[in-house]
Amino acid sequence: MYGLKAISAANGWLITLAGISIVFSGLLVLSFFISNMEKAIRFLDKQKERIKHAKIKPVPELAKRKKKAKEDKRAEVTKVVWLSPEQVEVYNYYRWITERLGEPFSLQQLLEHAEKRGIRRPYYHLDMFLQMRLLYDAGGDQIGFYRWARDIEIELSEEKNEN
């Protein structure tokens, strides 16, 4: 038997109707109960609170955090930066590459060119220059591209200040 006849013969319509109704009513009752359960609990909690007169003092954690963040942000502006001979060499190399790339430049391209030219520890030196703020983010539309800081002087130190 096929088609609608088969459905009717197997009580298909009835089963489907009953099935959908049961699933819906089950979840409907459950959702009704859940929404009221929350209200009931909230009501009970309020009553409890009223009885206890419990007061919760705000923790001054936020103020502390803000203060710490401010302290972290406070950065020292260095006008003269002392670099080891090796760092000066890499710095000059990087300046040479970026002159060709043009400012603002992409750090990825800078690294690619540095690697191609076999510059020693290009990643480490890039990190160092970023830390020393010799490089800064161009910001605005050019965010993520970098420029060399103009107000910083490079001085050659005799000691190596590498890690």
Binding site: I22, G26, L27
Partner: protein, 375 residues
């Protein structure tokens, strides 16, 4: 010489048929999809290997095949035949699921109910094309997108179809990211996909503890046949939420569910022996299963749109697609589509609500079908 020839005839090489080779290819494909494509690997790898185990041509009478009484595989298959494994998996699912996304916004539960329409529409379609009622019910449940529920119901109603139904259910669950998006795009407008959901309220611990108890009582009074599945689901959840039985919850959601998943996967895979699996019925099951998934997805989405007609706070209709209970894959698909329209729209956590209620909905639907169709 004759001895050697006889021995050769009794080896796999001598007994192999085209059917075996086809099924071995299917098994290898499952293993490939699980390992290389990461499609539900925890399920597809054991099922795929099970298919290989079930399709090694063996000499009948040696007590090796899964359908041969007394064989090791037959003993392991007992858990599938008697519907023991699915409730144990539900225990683990309960112990690993936080229902608070659903508790925070109970009206989204209705999306989980609406998606179950797919089960019943497919049930009707299967009847119409000539499947007997018990088989039609088992095929329809594929639309619930819940493997253990599909195995449970087919083991009760049509044990001979457990293999193809389980394979279809798990295959389509793995294919949720492929099946659902076209339907989601087709049934929603760009404006609807851009709807942002407000932050849900926080749910207290007491609500979380009360929920499994109350939900169990309510659902099982309404559909007692869903007791084995929902009972274990809510017990698992109570173990998780009550905190005093954390050791049990931990076992249920780790070791126990893993062991049962391995046994279920391997035995379901092994039950797909070529002579049982490669039939016209299996093709029908696969076609109807896919339709069932699509109708379920559409049902959820359309119901969300219907709810929007009557409610002040609009629901993103994409959430309706998460009503099919493939957790968390369908919620992930909702997130993906919503995010594609508006990168600042995060629907994942909102979609978990209907997703989880879909699990409850499909278990109730299985209970209803079982009680109506059991002869």
């Amino acid at each position: 010489m004759e001895l050697v020839i006889n021995f050769f005839h009794n080896t796999g090489f001598g007994l192999v048929t085209t059917g075996h080779l086809i099924m071995i290819t299917v098994g290898l494909m499952f293993i490939y999809l699980g390992i290389a494509k990461h499609y539900e690997p925890l399920l597809l790898v054991p099922i795929g290997f099970g298919i290989l185990m079930g399709n090694i041509p063996v000499f009948k009478g040696l007590g090796l095949g899964i359908y041969e009484k007394g064989s090791v595989l037959n003993y392991l298959y007992f858990g599938v035949r008697q519907g023991i494994y699915p409730p144990l998996i539900f225990l683990g699912i309960g112990a690993m699921t936080d229902f608070s996304t659903m508790l925070a916004r109970p009206k989204l539960m209705l999306l989980g109910a609406a998606a179950q329409v797919g089960i019943f529409v497919t049930f009707l379609a299967a009847l119409a094309i000539g499947f007997p009622a018990n088989e039609a019910g088992s095929i329809g449940i594929i639309g619930g997108a819940d493997g253990p529920t599909a195995i449970f119901l087919s083991a009760k109603l049509a044990p001979h179809l457990v293999g193809p139904i389980a394979i279809a259910a798990y295959s389509y669950m793995a294919l949720v990211p492929v099946i659902q998006p076209p339907i989601m795009y087709l049934l929603t407008t760009k404006e609807e996909r851009l709807i942002k959901m407000s932050d849900p309220r926080s749910v207290s611990k007491r609500e979380k503890i009360l929920f499994p108890i109350v939900a169990f009582l309510l659902c099982c009074f309404l559909a007692p046949a869903a007791l084995p599945l929902l009972g274990m689901l809510f017990l698992g959840n109570l173990l998780k939420e009550c905190l005093v039985a954390d050791r049990l919850a931990q076992t249920a959601r780790t070791a126990l569910i893993d062991i049962v998943t391995i046994l279920l996967g391997v035995t379901v895979g092994a039950s797909t022996q070529a002579d049982v699996f490669l039939t016209g019925k299996s093709i029908g099951i696969f076609c109807l299963g896919a339709a069932s998934f699509m109708v379920a997805t559409a049902g959820g989405i359309l119901f969300a749109k219907l709810m929007n007609l009557f409610s002040k706070e609009k629901i993103n209709p994409l959430l309706g697609a998460a009503g099919v209970s493939a957790v968390p894959d369908s919620a992930r698909v909702v997130q993906l589509i919503g995010n594609r329209e508006d990168p600042s729209n995060y629907l994942l956590m909102h979609a978990m609500g209907p997703n989880i209620s879909g699990v409850i909905g499909s278990a109730i639907a299985a209970g209803v079908l079982w009680s109506f169709l059991l002869k």
